[in-house]
């Protein structure tokens, strides 16, 4: 696209001071993209393997319970909770609420704390209660 070099450019991401609200906004996209690719692939693999029979399912389960599989599952669960909480924050902002800078930053920080807390609670439950 052609651009008149005499006209000023709007400053890009690099000039802004980072804050929780900016981080959460970007994380919403990053986690969404991760869930939409890696998460969706895992969901389809799990279901197709279950429909294909016991042997295919063992193949999936072997991967899912390997160290790499567990690391990906922990990452996906954190991404899910972060996307869920920042998505709820977006729904609140969609009705025009929560734009005051202090409250906005506070709830952005709360989504970060909440996603880590929920991820820890989920895996603690899986390890302690289910003993998996």
């Amino acid at each position: 696209m052609s651009r008149n070099p005499n006209r000023p450019l709007s400053p890009h991401l690099g000039v802004y001071k980072w804050g929780p609200h900016m981080l959460v906004s970007i994380l919403h996209r990053v986690t969404g993209a991760g869930l939409a690719t890696v998460g969706a692939a895992a969901l389809v693999w799990w279901l197709v393997a279950a429909a294909s029979g016991e042997e295919a399912y063992e193949g999936f389960a072997g991967w899912a319970t390997s160290w790499l599989g567990i690391a990906i599952a922990v990452g996906l669960s954190w991404a899910f909770f972060q996307h869920l909480l920042s998505g709820l924050r977006h729904l609140v902002m969609d009705i025009g609420a929560g734009f005051e800078i202090r409250g906005n930053k506070f709830w952005a920080t709360m989504t970060l704390a909440g996603s880590i807390l929920l991820t820890a609670a989920l895996w603690l439950y899986i390890v302690m209660v289910r003993g998996a």
Partner: protein
């Protein structure tokens, strides 16, 4: 629509209307609003609430299953009360992720040709993956009635 047809600007100025059709060039080239932005925005929100409820259901259901091996999962999915929400989950999830990824593509893929191709492939991939997942659930669910075994 009221079309301005009498404008005669100085030489070299772009005409407000196409002389042949009497239609503004922007309208001929299709550079205006598609008037579908609000619908896409609303569907993104609508699907987000559906995905939220269905994934809470899925996570709670899986945590409540006694075993997550092949037998445990397929027997659970044979129950219509598990198979139907799972089908809805697949539809809502792939609908939602298709819209989300498309917005990212529209923001970051600047070349018009690449953008068109990426969105085309994204739509095919989302529908294709959803179809495989839906088929898998239907196959497991109908095996109970001896139809697909």
């Amino acid at each position: 629509m009221i079309v301005e047809t009498t404008r005669t600007g100085e030489p070299g100025a772009s005409p407000a209307t196409d002389p042949a059709t009497g239609t503004p060039p922007a309208r001929v080239r299709g550079t205006g609003s598609a008037r579908e932005g609000a619908e896409h925005w609303w569907h993104e929100r609508l699907s987000s609430v559906a995905v939220l409820m269905l994934f809470v259901w899925l996570i709670v259901s899986l945590l409540r299953l006694p075993v997550l091996d092949h037998r445990g999962v397929t027997e659970w999915l044979r129950d219509p009360l598990a198979a139907v929400p799972m089908l809805l989950l697949i539809l809502a999830t792939f609908w939602h992720l298709k819209m989300g990824l498309q917005v990212i593509v529209e923001d970051y893929v600047h070349d018009e040709g690449n953008r068109f191709l990426t969105i085309l492939l994204l739509n095919f991939a989302a529908v294709g993956a959803a179809a495989f997942a839906l088929f898998a659930v239907v196959k497991i669910a109908f095996a109970a009635a001896g139809i697909a075994r």
